[in-house]
């Protein structure tokens, strides 16, 4: 199962978003409407599933400081790319 499929399954199981709605181009906040609490649950599940620690504080700070756009971290295909990088770095 691909990283995208795993993450999409987690999102649909954790929130009320149907699996069919979630595409690689979906912005988890702007398109899927995931709020901050659901996002914590999703990150918790991703951390456990992949054995990583998503640096959510750093990402949020970079967005707040204007150093990154939300799309860089929170569009599904980009989020999955970051997860893959974290998994590779951990190996």
């Amino acid at each position: 199962m691909s990283t995208f499929d795993k993450v999409a399954d987690i999102i649909s199981e954790t929130s009320e978003i149907s699996r069919e709605e979630i595409t690689p181009e979906s912005h988890t906040i702007d398109d899927l409407g995931i709020d901050s609490l659901d996002f914590l649950d999703i990150v918790f599940a991703i951390d456990k599933e992949f054995g990583i620690k998503i640096p959510l504080e750093t990402w949020t700070q970079e967005v707040n400081d204007g150093k990154a756009s939300t799309a860089e971290y929170f569009v599904m295909k980009n989020l999955c790319g970051k997860i893959d990088e974290l998994v590779t770095a951990k190996a």
Binding site: L37, L40, D41, F44, E57
Partner: protein, 151 residues
């Protein structure tokens, strides 16, 4: 334990940062204005205050892991179960354990026992934020130090 002031933890007997477990104790007061309404003539600790008790034990544990540099705030309650009624004078043993330390959040499992029997348990999620003021940070550190002295 002073229900009106949300002071739910009397004593902290152990904080193990290797296993990330905290043990604490509290005694439900004999009288409280909370019992006047919950319920007249049949005093019971409200379930929300049982959750609060587990949240405070968890929060204190999380603060130990981050050297009291930030404050954990309750953000989610899952699998919260109130397994038995708890009334005045009950001696409570509270245990909190960190299940996951995320970036800017943490997840714990906590339980309360009375006379060895589990009376409540829950999985709790906390978002971890900067203290809104240095005064609050110092106040909480002092309160926790007092709880540990009593433990």
């Amino acid at each position: 334990m002073q229900l009106e002031y949300f002071q739910m933890i009397d004593r902290i007997s152990a904080v193990d940062l290797d296993t990330k477990v905290l043990n604490a104790h509290s005694t439900v007061p004999d009288e409280s204005t909370v019992f006047e309404g919950h319920f007249p003539g049949h005093p019971l600790v409200p379930g929300v205050l049982m959750i609060e008790t587990m949240a405070q034990a968890s929060g204190i544990l999380i603060m130990h892991t981050i050297n009291f540099e930030k404050i954990p705030l309750l953000a989610g309650v899952k699998e919260g179960k109130m397994r038995d009624f708890v009334g005045p004078k009950t001696e409570l043993e509270i245990k909190a354990e960190i299940e996951h330390e995320g970036s800017g959040f943490a997840v714990t499992r906590a339980e309360i026992r009375a006379d060895g029997k589990r009376v409540a348990n829950a999985q709790l999620t906390f978002t971890i934020k900067p203290f809104p003021s240095p005064d609050l940070q110092e106040t909480i550190k002092a309160q926790v130090a007092d709880m540990k002295k009593s433990g």
